[in-house]
Amino acid sequence: MESSTKLKLENTIMENQNFRPLDLKKKVRLGESLIQNLLFIAGFLSIFITVAIVYELGKEAWLFFGDPEVTFTNFFGTTEWSPGIGRFGIWPLVTSTLITSFIAICVSLPLGLAVALFLSEYASLKARSALKPILEILAGIPTVVYGYFALLFMTPLLQKIFGEGVEVYNMASAGIVMGIMILPLISSMSEDALSAVPRVLREGAYAMGATKFETSIQVVLPAALSGIGAALIIGISRAVGETMIVAVAAGSGPNFTFNPFQAAETMTGHIARISGGDLSYNSIDYNSLFAIALMLFLVTLILNLISQAVINRFRQRYE
């Protein structure tokens, strides 16, 4: 039907000598497609960056794990890390990373969630617009400044509270300050999740006679739980990858301990300290840093992917 109309039209045009045949096909414009290809390359560069990260970290990590001295039992079975003299137990770096991150989450999750609940459920529009910039300032402060704060404010404070057992460099102060740093992230992501809960759910709860608190905790919070979970995961990922606070305040030297008041170097802190010195390429120390960085990259990548998947599922449910 359509093609026959087109044919008829073309025939009429052909028959009439005064009309030039109209070319309705899309023209191939060289400049346009060149630009499109350039833009595609710009977009594709991000894939290239990821590939480069995996390739470069993987290559050096491969050299590290290929070293005959680095065995599986050595790596996961011993608790001393000092590649220069043949000690390859990764645990001291991992435990301190886990402890500082755990402390950070213990601080930032309850506080961040409470702040989010207050801002989204209780605060008036005016109060919210006045309070949110404060959190944004907190989020915009460079992490090295938090490191200064941890070492010269939080540590003396902890020493005053808990006495002499608190070392000058310790995981607790780094963890707490890291929690303060992550707080705005968790609160803003949680607040987004809470605000996305449809108003009808709240109105329904009020109609049943629920108080504001009951509505918030028993209706809104469960409805926003997946978004809050995503915020928590991003928070963990941020804590695991955070470098400067732990490099300044948590201690410089791997130490296998579970006492948060002792000094212990984290994975990121270790990379920062070792690479900051004079490091010769192709040494086992150099390669080991890439192995640690690869572990960091993979852990944070998996956490970020999970969080994104959770958010995407959550969005589908309400929009």
């Binding site: 560069l45 707080l183 920062a272």
Partner: protein
């Protein structure tokens, strides 16, 4: 409708439980509010801590008595007299080195005065106190100093001064400044933005205007979101492996005839930072482009514009304010990042201004890190001063971003 009375309690028991429920509600409300208060207190404590460190009493001694060099009081000397003292007492090697950096005759009186103090008389800081201590325990501090260091002078000092901003690094905290660090930071951020802004905007245009919803474009989008969450130190490792090592001929400048450096240059650092902020710039630019209404595009197509003409003449001019705002925010992120710079190899002691992309460098956050981790408390004082400089810079950038957004953002 048959109301079920079991589920709607009435009477005294209901009222009693109701007041209990209200009490719980108000307790929790206070708890939620107190979390916010804790956040605000943390911010206040942090700022207080920094300001507290940057001012205060300091007790210092002269290592060498000024009377050894001049009979007149030091403050009364004029420029030629100071010059003569320096020339007479400095070793000729040291004098020539200073002369090469900047001719001594042309230096100002204040400059020479500082040099005399730094090189000849040599200040020895005994102890310094924070602002709070200085204000609350002034008398005690004076008594303590008189007893412990009888020869020492005590003065109230602001560690952050115009001189602090304009002098280069020094191994003595009293004479150290952040000039080389600020210049290094600016060079680095400049290179980062020159690299990331065009590519980031291009990628955002591609993803918003050109990309079909196929597999590869979905992968690109997911990948960009993930790159934004990669720890900054991993970018540092990438920079070390690629820019510092593999591309050394390019980043050290040996391709361009620069011979006195290795790959650990401003150029490497700038590119690393550019890669780090690229995902942020793309995401922000995408949001800005998304905000341009479709009707504008349709109108352009309607009058026969090609896709690129539509993008170039209609979409971009309307999105540019948003894109620039996002870029400024990315820039302030780059300014505060420390970890990648440590890995890429910022030097900590640089007393010469960076003179191009291929020079060794230091940056403001690197200096803060370096000074914070020193044991002597006078270095903590200059770390606090450097933090104030950094925070003021960041505040200015953010204010500029907000102004730009409010001024040029069009509402549809």
């Amino acid at each position: 409708m048959n109301p079920n009375h079991d589920h709607f309690p009435e009477g005294d028991s209901f009222r009693q439980s109701l007041s209990g429920r209200y009490r719980t509600a108000s307790i929790w409300r206070t708890l939620f509010l107190s979390a916010l208060v804790i956040a605000i207190i943390s911010l206040a404590a942090l700022l207080y801590n920094v300001i507290d460190g940057a001012f205060g009493y300091v007790a210092y001694e002269y290592k060498n008595d000024p009377a050894e060099f001049t009979p007149k009081p030091l403050d009364d000397l004029n420029q030629p007299e100071l010059l003569a003292i320096l020339k007479a007492n400095l070793s000729s090697g040291a004098y020539n080195k200073l002369n090469n950096e900047k001719p001594m005759e042309k230096r100002s009186k204040a400059d020479l005065y500082t040099l005399t103090l730094e090189r000849l008389i040599q200040i020895d800081t005994k102890q310094n106190w924070s602002l709070t201590e200085s204000l609350l325990r002034g008398a005690e501090i004076r008594a303590e100093v008189a007893e412990k260091y009888p020869k020492a002078k005590l003065e109230f000092r602001s560690w952050i001064t115009p001189v602090f901003l304009t002098t280069p690094m020094s191994s003595k905290a009293e004479f150290a400044g952040v000039r080389t660090a600020i210049l290094g930071s600016l060079w680095m951020v400049g290179i980062a933005i020159l690299f990331a802004l065009p590519i980031g905007t291009g990628a955002a245009i591609y993803l918003q205007e050109y990309a079909d919803k196929n597999f590869i474009n979905r992968v690109i989008q997911t990948n960009i979101n993930n790159l934004a969450g990669v720890p900054s130190i991993v970018y540092g490792m990438l920079g070390l492996a690629i820019f510092v090592r593999v591309l050394e001929p390019l980043t050290s400048g040996s391709l361009f005839g620069v011979t006195d450096s290795n790959g650990r240059t401003i150029f490497s650092a700038g590119l690393t930072m550019g890669v780090l902020v690229l995902p942020l710039i793309i995401i922000n630019a995408q949001e800005a482009i998304k905000a341009v209404p479709d009707s504008l595009r349709q109108a352009a197509y309607g009058v026969g514009a090609t896709k690129w003409q539509t993008v170039w003449y209609h979409v971009l001019p309307n999105a540019i304010a948003g894109i620039l705002t996002g870029s400024i925010l990315a820039l302030s992120r780059a300014l505060g990042e420390t970890a990648p710079l440590i890995v890429v190899g910022a030097s900590t002691f640089i007393s010469l201004d960076p003179d191009g992309p291929f020079s060794k460098f230091t940056a403001l956050p690197i200096q803060i890190y370096q000074w914070t981790t020193r044991a002597q408390s006078e270095f903590h004082a200059i770390a606090a001063s450097a933090i104030i400089v950094l925070l003021v810079l960041l505040l200015t950038l953010n204010a500029a971003a907000i102004l730009l957004r409010n001024r040029y953002q069009r509402k549809y």
